[in-house]
């Protein structure tokens, strides 16, 4: 290759680490396929968003500063989540404004952070993906990915390259699924009702699977689909693109 490889730090996210490690490996596979050199900083845990959205500013600051320290030497920071990447890009500058001595590192990390599909399309220029999927999928736009990171066309462009896959849009793909972090636990009844509207929308497409880019939305929608007794599968976009949907 004419260009030196892109050097990427993968921020796995706490939910992928705990719940669905295969999404992290799918992201690795896609990044390597795009010619990137990937490091996974070892001490990483969480971006601090749960604390931030719960009003615990101090805990959020501690975790945000930790994340910045761990990734400040990476040329690119890639995150398989719209809401965690949105936390870094849209909220770290305000959250860490009172630490001017760490400003330079913060600015670097913020400017270099991208959501996975956005990075693959707009930075790495990825055009072919290894995934195959015999069936129809519909795509749910997660709120933070869409409204904080501008993720809309990127996952769709990549899904178009998955052999056998047909994308059928639901009526309101940009409508919130009702997750909202701790909202889903504190106001479970309302949260589940909002999720139900999303599930109705998904069901109306008769798609085999709903694909999305955020673990929170994934657990919420999948949880409601299971309770409804439906068989629609729920996949992270990286799983489908990398062709690693199952254990």
């Amino acid at each position: 290759m004419a260009h030196p490889p892109l050097r990427v730090g993968l921020f796995v996210t706490c939910l992928v680490d705990l719940m669905r490690p295969r999404i992290g490996f799918a992201a690795l596979k896609l990044l390597k396929g795009a010619g990137c050199e990937v490091v996974v900083p070892e001490g990483q845990t969480c971006c601090g968003q749960p604390a931030y959205n719960s009003g615990d500013r101090r805990a959020a600051q501690a975790l945000a500063r930790k994340m910045v320290r761990e990734f400040e030497s990476c040329e690119h920071v890639v995150v398989p989540s719209g809401s965690c990447s949105g936390m870094i890009r849209a909220h770290y500058p305000e959250l860490l404004a009172e630490f001017p001595e760490e400003r330079a590192a913060l600015d670097r990390v913020v400017a270099r952070t991208r959501e996975l599909t956005d990075f693959l399309v707009n930075v790495a220029g990825l055009t072919t993906v290894p995934g195959q999927f015999a069936g129809t999928v519909t795509y749910h736009d997660s709120c933070s990915g869409l409204r904080e990171m501008g993720v809309k066309s990127q996952p769709r462009a990549l899904l178009a390259g998955v052999r056998g896959l047909t994308l059928k849009e639901m009526a309101t793909p940009e409508y919130c699924c009702g997750f909202g972090g701790t909202f889903a636990v504190k106001y479970g009844e309302i949260s589940a009702r909002i999720a139900d509207r999303k599930c109705d929308d998904v069901a109306a497409t008769q798609a085999d699977a709903v694909v999305l880019g955020d673990l929170g939305c994934m657990l919420n929608i999948e949880g409601r689909i299971l309770r409804r007794g439906e068989s629609t599968r729920v996949y992270h976009v990286a799983e489908v693109l990398a062709g690693v949907e199952d254990d």
Binding site: V12, P50, A51, D56, R57, G178, G180, K186, I190
Partner: protein, 481 residues
């Protein structure tokens, strides 16, 4: 507790108090989620689609939003100077300007105006500020007849309820509800056709318009340049109450001032589109004083009541941006929470995202602990707000204030503390998550889904998908090199 908050919560809906509804947010939300009629009404409700069609035709939308926000900020930045300018100009035109520090003041001032003018019947156009102070009850206690004339407000007045939406107050009611109310209160044969119901209300309210002594309106804007009050309606009741009775009283918050007539033009373009999807509302009136020499119609007296009741406090807080609000309702129309539970669950005058910011600001953080938390932070509200109020950011700041003030439940604080303690110690965190991944996998069983979790918040109506069983960290450490 602030004075306003005491007023708001000390009574059961009498004059000067703000809310008849009791219980908790979650309890009210639960009731609304299981009220088939409310659910049907909320499913029918789709002002969001109307907005989006209207905005698609306005390529300058983003620039106009920015300009509208700047107009509101300009007014807020020198608010007292703009208010004094408004007062000077309005007074010059024969308007009597009153200042109300509290909700009780609003009721006292309006009652005194009515008494001095020998008023018996009051006809009202929509005014959310008057809902804050329960003005109707206060005037009725003075022996006055008070008639709401906005069709939605009229319906809920007959039902003895409060508005569930700031521009569509009876959106939670079905035509069957309205049919029963009209049959019962008008003594006419029951009818269920919406056109027939609307015509019946027109006929009944026309009689009130022609016989009212005093008209009360809100004020969408105050124009400092000219001392005018701007009234925006579709039904025409704003024109009626400011034209037909002997006395017109406009009641509005001190934050509603804007500098010039050109600013009216600018802000209207986003107000009406955001509210109902119209390029302009059917009636926009600038009322500037009582009738002049030779005028055959118009009121003999015009009063403007400028209401603080918490607004100056908000101005000095980090919630200031909320005072830009022009009451279009777009934030609630687009809110997934509002769309499912309706307005009454929010418990005070302003529902939806703007209510979740204004209510704790006006009646006290400790009196509305749920509201800033009862949002997914999806930011659909922030994206549609015509004056760019960063609603999710403001809700998050209120959450921070709750934590600082020790208003969050103990289990939540403890949970966050434990989790963040681990998350800052990668080695221990790795151990804890290894364990959690395994336990979760076991609990998930064959279905790979957990049906019941402690507290039940998640699993009441949802399963919790089980973790894969190993953490990424472990698997990555063992990967083939």
């Amino acid at each position: 507790m602030t004075e306003a908050a005491q007023e708001a919560f000390s009574g059961t809906g009498g004059p000067g108090t703000a809310r008849p509804q009791g219980g908790t947010f979650s309890g009210r939300a639960h009731d609304k989620l299981h009220d088939a009629k409310v659910q049907r009404a909320m499913r029918n409700f789709n002002l969001a689609a109307a907005r989006s069609r209207a905005m698609a035709e306005l390529p300058e939308l983003e620039d106009i939003r920015t300009a509208a926000a700047a107009i509101r900020d300009t007014a807020l930045a020198d608010l007292d100077v703009w208010l004094e300018r408004f007062e000077t100009e309005a007074t010059r035109r024969g308007v009597k300007v009153h200042w109300a520090e509290t909700h009780a003041d609003v009721n006292r001032i309006v009652a005194a105006i009515a008494r001095e003018a020998g008023v018996r019947k009051v006809i009202k156009s929509k005014s959310m500020v008057s809902e804050e102070s329960h003005l109707n009850a206060a005037l009725e206690a003075e022996g006055l007849e008070v008639v709401e004339t906005d069709l939605g407000e009229y319906i809920i007045q007959l039902a003895g309820e409060t508005p569930s939406h700031i521009i569509a107050p009876a959106i939670h009611k079905t035509r069957e509800d309205v049919a029963d109310l009209f049959h019962q209160h008008h003594g006419t044969p029951r009818k269920t056709g919406i056109p027939e119901l609307t015509m019946e209300a027109r006929a009944v309210l026309r009689g009130h318009f022609l016989s009212g002594d005093m008209g009360i309106s809100g004020g969408n804007f105050l124009v400092a340049e000219t001392g005018s009050v701007v009234l925006v309606t579709n039904e025409g009741n704003g024109r009626m109450v400011s034209t037909m009775p002997r006395v017109h009283v406009a009641i509005t918050g001190i934050e509603k001032v804007i500098p010039t007539l050109e600013d009216v033009a600018c802000v209207l373009r986003v107000l009406t589109r955001s509210a109902t999807g119209q390029s302009i509302s059917n009636y926009v009136t600038l009322a500037t004083g009582p009738k002049g020499a030779g005028d055959a119609d118009g009121p003999e007296e015009m009063h403007v009541v400028l209401v603080d009741a918490g607004r100056s406090t908000v101005l000095g807080s980090d919630m200031r941006e909320a005072l830009r609000c022009i009451r279009c309702g777009a934030c609630m129309n687009h809110c997934p929470v509002y769309q499912n539970i309706g307005g009454h669950a929010y418990g005070w005058v302003y529902p939806g995202p703007i209510g979740s910011v204004l209510t704790p600001s006006y009646i006290g953080l400790e009196n509305a602990v749920d509201l800033p938390n009862a949002a997914t932070l999806c930011n659909q509200c922030g994206v549609v707000c015509p004056v760019r109020i960063p609603l999710p950011d403001l809700m998050r700041k209120l959450r921070e204030k709750q934590v600082e003030a020790g208003l969050r439940p103990r289990w939540e604080r403890a949970g966050l503390r434990v989790w963040s303690w681990f998350a800052q110690r990668p080695a221990l965190y790795a151990l804890a998550t290894r364990l959690a991944a395994r336990v979760g996998r076991l609990l998930g069983g064959k279905r790979r889904a957990i049906g019941r979790l402690p507290g039940g918040g998640w699993t009441g109506e949802r399963d919790f998908p089980a973790p894969q069983g190993r953490t990424f960290r472990e698997l990555y450490a063992r990967r083939p090199r």
